[in-house]
Amino acid sequence: MSEHGLPPKSSIKRWLVTTNHKDIGILYILTSLFFLIFGGTLALLIRLQLWTSGEFILSGSAFGQAVTAHGLVMVFFFLSPFAFGFANYIVPLQIGADDLAFPRLNALSYWLYLFAGLLFLISFFQGGSLEAGWTMYAPLNLPTYMPNPGASTVVGALLMFVASVTVSTINFVVTIHQMKADGLSLWNLPMFTWSILLTVWMMLIAFAALGAALLILGADHVLDTVYFTEVEGGSLLWAHLFWFFGHPEVYIVFFPALGVMLETFQTFTGRRLIGRKWVILAMILVTLQSFLVWMHHMFLTTINLEIKTLMMAMTIGISLPFDLIVFAMIYTLIKGRIRWTTPFLFNFGALVLFIIGGITGVFLGAIVLDYEFRGTYWVVAHFHYVMVAGGTALFGGLYYWWPKITGKMYDEYLGKMHFGAYFVGFNLLYFAMFMSWEMPRRVFTYHTGFEAYNQMATIGGFILGASFLIMFYNFYQSWYRGPVADGNPWEYSRTAEWATDSPPPLENWEGIPNYEKGFLEFVDRPEGLTDGGHGEDHHDRHPDHASIWPLTISLTTFIGLAGLMLWGEHIVYNTLFIVGLFATLVAAVGFAREDFYAPMPDWGARWPFEGIHKNKFGMWIFLASDIVIFGAFIGAYIFIRWGYGWEAWQTIPPEALPGLVNTFVLLTSSFTVILALVYAQRGNQKGLVASLIATFGLATLFLVIKSWEWNYLLPEAETLPEATIALFTFDWDPLIGTEGPALDASIQHSTYYVTTGLHAIHILIGMIALGYLAIRAYHGAYLDDEQPVENVGLYWHFVDIAWVFLFPLFYIL
């Protein structure tokens, strides 16, 4: 039976077009488990190599690639997506929603993630992947020092992953703030939903910073700019950008696991959380503090003592809220009726492991100790105790929600066996690393004194790996032969996901969930859904659940990025890029034109984000992340220029005048785009179309002036037509010749071209959107619904604001 245009679950087509949050959740979980097996296999290879102290099965280069891929795959492609599989499936159920706010964007997040993972895998077949560690320290992350072509592809894959996370972030922020059941306030959200909410707020800032770092790294790879080879601080610049993202990332990975622990501790003890509001406040505090400790990863670098001291104090500061959270969980045990089921075993175990990880982390917080632990197995052991403790809780979550997702019970005995093997293997593996802490990280041969510990770790690693065979066997049995689970298989569960069938129907609930009376009730659905009073005329329309565009956009982006990252290596790559770019444009237009109905509940949007339409709210969240991207570019410029000597720095444009003229052009375009909005509101079609075309024209003028200025970029191509011919015949030598002020001529050139280039790309994207609006407006659109005009306008003004800062920084000062 087809469910509102969605093919049945047995059909492959359903899984390609579905936008339903539960389907996407399942896709996330399955894909992440695939990457767990991939990353785990790499880990076992590493452990095998370290079985003896000498050379064994891997070469130094292969080992470096294995270590790098293991880290990146486990952190980016397993842990976070695994957690977001649950977030997708469970969060809408916990808050009483039918789906996420932007179902198609949710599907887009998933497909971008999958194709990012595939791009990563491809890198191994391009003559070697990245081998710079998951931290990708500069300048080893550049072709000059590590010429594997696949390394550039990895940068592209990570960029694509960042795009996936950004889309997902927007979706979850809007969903959790605007789709809660009536009577469910922010404060009353279940703990897992709280943990996801705080996770996505951290993601919003942190992943934008990573996005900026990767864009710059990508420029260094593809355009030969010299950011990270700049001796006046290129390496440190990468470290700052990476760890500004990297430290919050630890909590981004750990918080969802913490959410699972907080849920299961309550369910399986039959007790509510002790000090609930303090736990929530502690988590909010961690969210904020996570951005204030990043330099504790850089204690041994040349940063000054003052900032080290400050970061040390902040690091102590961030351990304290965690103390509180841990004690709250422990006290929740007291006076409970603890049922030692598999999910609880995993979560109890996770807490034990996290405590060990936390205590060993305090060692690293003391700078004097950190000086010695830096780069050793102490660090490796510590963060595995923390991160894999998170993984442990998530595996508990998989057992906890398995009956909800599949409608089948798993076998408890096998589950406990899994836990036993897992816990023993885990501690053999990682505790041995504490004992061999004097050994440097990421070496593939070592001194014989450490052999016993390494063999212990290897044995532990294989036990840990083998324990998953039990898990997969258990789930396989359960799926085909397991007893049927009803809607609520766990005694003392409280949250709303257990108040519907297992698995829930397509739109989750028979009635509409409502907490007005202080407990969950279901009120009848009115005839014909309301749409939240957002002015859309769809009153008797049923929500859509299928779209082919998310998959299409991801596929075309994948093709384009695969080509772009190795541009110039071979004509195949150049072709792929151009094909991918145009196909992505077509797909984006297809996505925009599709009439997809995803209604919002009337009552969902409450403090502090009430009274703003989900699209506009989503646009603002996106702009916040774009602020961080531009801000990080500007920050990188300031950092590099400061290291270089601020006033010794030469600005690239010889004249400020073209920049000033462009400032006027952009300000005028900001005025015309606001005129478009006014005319749309007044129903004046002529005015609307004219303002949009004027804005488009001004944007074109901006780019013309820009490219005239950019002539410096084309040292050997005398004229623009010549340059264009060079571009399309894939003969880039005249463009980036070694002589003349090209991109790679100096760090001044690099920062100027890359930062203003990022801005120019923003202008181009804006022009595509403006052109699209103008054509649709010409055919009569937007007169009764000016929203798209307003939202594109928001973006356009932001591009203007960015220039407000770029102009003085790159032209005058």
Binding site: F291, P608, I612, F617, T663, L677, V678, I801
Partner: protein, 85 residues
């Protein structure tokens, strides 16, 4: 939603502020000019964000989200730069 006249007034103010940047550079010594230019950029941003992007009309929390992002990048740029001085 405001009138075209109002938006035009904002536009004129923005143009004047843009010119002020170049003027500061001519009149003031270097670091004073830096301060003046950044101040005028901040005022421009406030005008655009507040009135063209209508932040003044949105729930206050949206402004806080934007400020949070700005604070994050200011923190990154200033702390990183300070660390190498």
């Amino acid at each position: 939603m405001a009138s075209i006249k109002f938006y035009f007034a904002i536009y004129v103010a923005l143009l004047l502020l843009a010119v002020s940047k170049v003027v500061f550079m001519e009149l003031l010594d270097y670091w004073a000019a830096v301060g003046g230019i950044m101040l005028s950029a901040a005022v421009k941003t406030g005008l655009i964000a507040g009135f063209y992007q209508h932040l003044v009309d949105e729930p206050r929390a949206v402004t806080w989200v934007v400020l949070m992002a700005v604070a994050a990048v200011l923190l990154l740029a200033s702390a990183a730069t300070f660390s190498i001085t």
